[in-house]
Symmetry: C2
Subunit: 366 residues, 2 copies
């Protein structure tokens, strides 16, 4: 029994112990049905006794597939925030500072949805975050490890994406609309439709006219699409078209707070509703407004976008547009496997539906 000391027993060890060839051992673990029951038991027993664990590397090399899907997403934490995160973990930073990043990162739900779907299909999930400026280096690295790759980052260098997608199935999630259209599968979320529906609800059902849209960063395609939905609802109602967002924020709680106060000071008397590009800003605004004694939805309606769990727990509960994040991950797995099965299949780019959640902050229900 000469079990390799360095990295556990191999097929050879198991084969020797069971008195069969390595081919049979391989078959037992790979397609058990092709081996006679008695032989199979013998091999399995030997494997058990030796603590045999098949090497995924060897299997991958021989079978030309890794059984792993990858999810690439941006790391929002810059080095500074990272250092702070560590300090906080140690308890050396005062409570209350800078937790926006940690607060319900929507990628978490995508990860969970994708992991679940992948596992159900017999795949494992490799996750790789990277600061956006290093995406070009990290991408090929993870590409070498997986059979298919989902990319959640908006701005991945096109050449890196090209190179990778030439080698394996790639699906871009909720990415830049303009980028890479037609060459690679993509999954979009109905940002436009969702925001339009929500805005029409405010206009038509609640009779609001003077709405302010608080946008995201200029380079956020999602936030851009939401604003266009906001505009479209105005068109539909025959209201004057808002040319630009009333202001912008960086999608954090603090930005929402700031935007709310700013708009309140500027057009407080006139405004009837604040339409935020995402939930976090809307929640920040709710707090700020409460402190100012502004009643929501009495004096001012407030809405968000995303459907983070927190939105239901604040008071008033936040009216928002819910995104199907876990579903995004699940669909990604489906598309990757479909393309894995047929590399020639036509490129697709489904759009996942969103749903308006009417809660208290717009004047609905309790």
């Amino acid at each position: 029994m000469s079990v390799s000391e360095t990295s556990g027993p191999t097929v050879y060890d198991v084969a020797e112990r069971a008195g069969v060839s390595i081919a049979t051992v391989s078959r037992v673990y790979r397609n058990p049905d092709t081996v006679r029951a008695a032989t199979r038991e013998k091999v399995l027993a030997a494997g058990q006794e030796l603590g045999y664990v098949p090497s995924a590397s060897a299997r991958g090399l021989a079978s030309r597939s890794t059984g792993v899907l990858g999810l690439f997403f941006p790391d929002f934490a810059d080095p500074e925030a990272e250092a702070q995160a560590e300090a906080r973990a140690e308890g050396s930073v005062p409570d209350g500072a800078m937790e926006d990043v940690e607060l319900s990162f929507y990628g978490d739900e995508v990860i969970r949805g994708m992991e679940r779907a992948a596992r159900r299909r017999g795949y494992a999930l490799l996750i790789a975050a990277a600061p956006m400026d290093r995406a070009g280096e990290v991408l090929p690295e993870v590409a070498g490890r997986v059979d298919g790759l989902a990319v959640l980052a908006h701005h991945v260098p096109a050449d890196a994406l090209d190179m990778v997608s030439r080698r394996l199935p790639v699906v871009v999630l909720a990415g830049d609309q303009a980028r890479g259209r037609g060459s690679v599968d993509r999954i979009d979320v109905a940002n436009f439709d969702g925001q339009m529906e929500l805005t029409r609800h405010l206009i038509e059902d609640h009779g609001l006219r003077d709405l302010a849209f608080i946008g995201g960063p200029e380079d956020s395609p999602d936030a851009g699409a939401r604003f266009r939905g906001f505009q479209a609802a105005h068109l539909a109602a025959g209201l004057p078209l808002p040319e630009l967002p009333a202001t912008r924020g960086d999608l954090t709680l603090a930005a929402g707070r700031k935007a709310a106060l700013e708009l309140l000071d500027r057009d407080g008397a006139r405004l009837q509703g604040l339409v935020f590009a995402n939930d976090q800003m809307a929640v920040g605004a709710l707090h700020a407004l409460a402190e100012r004694g502004v009643s929501v939805p009495g004096d001012l309606a407030v809405t968000g976008f995303d459907g983070i769990p927190l939105g239901r727990l604040v008071r008033p509960a936040l009216t928002t547009v819910r995104q199907p994040m876990p579903r995004l991950g699940e669909r990604a797995v489906e598309l990757l496997l479909a393309r894995l099965a047929d590399r020639e299949r036509p490129v697709v780019s489904p759009t996942l539906p969103t749903a308006v959640a009417r809660r208290a902050s717009c004047g609905c229900g309790a």
Copy 2:
């Protein structure tokens, strides 16, 4: 230029194109310094042009290491919840139902901390969830793919854990104290100390005497340790020792709500504080109490445990014991790499400190 059609160019293709041997190509990508600059450039250029991506499988097989660390954790979603999750994603389930699972799964933070630490050390992270009853099957599967494995599940079958840990470094995170002591690295969190400190704060600083502890499931070692910390604080103050938790819950918002109402009806007049085994229950209780018109902390102090972001956003802000979740993941990486470097190093089981966050719900600050 005979690039293999099926799975991209290989070292052979790059070598041929660059007019060097495959050994040199390998060196260029592995230790660039050992290759003359001119040669290196030539190879790199050839690699670029061909879209060469090294195969992790081959590399792993040849070098006997995968460059991947794994994180294994329980999948809380039973099949039913899973189906519901899908339905919800489609928008076909009424809002407001059953999102407890999604609400700040503390594993998310561990995942992020671990991914970050792993990447910094040049490793990728493979995540694998599994229903606890299938842990025994899934564990070896992921073990074959990684160089080291962190296990976040409390009750992993001992034999599976044994088998895996014989083959590669394993670290158990916040696991069952009694299980596997001494044979494998583990990282614990100061559940006992944290809860004791918080409870002493309630007793000594706020002068509260009649506190009710709302425990977790009987088989939760974490919740158990917290209750013992609660008991110890009573001992320290010379107060009567609570023999058992006043009641138990399953750690969800709903359970907290239910427990709060139940205790209110039972001992409402006497009670001065509700000490919950985790934050989610505490937040659920805050809502229930608000609806009942019970003032917190005026009539009743409420505390939690975990330090989820939500705790800071509810009103009153929740006093709690913060766990260093991301740090847990980081430490896991450190321990795994340390053991990877020296398989013979003594087994360690550090305990990560917790920190009491004094916020409004216990009567502190604003």
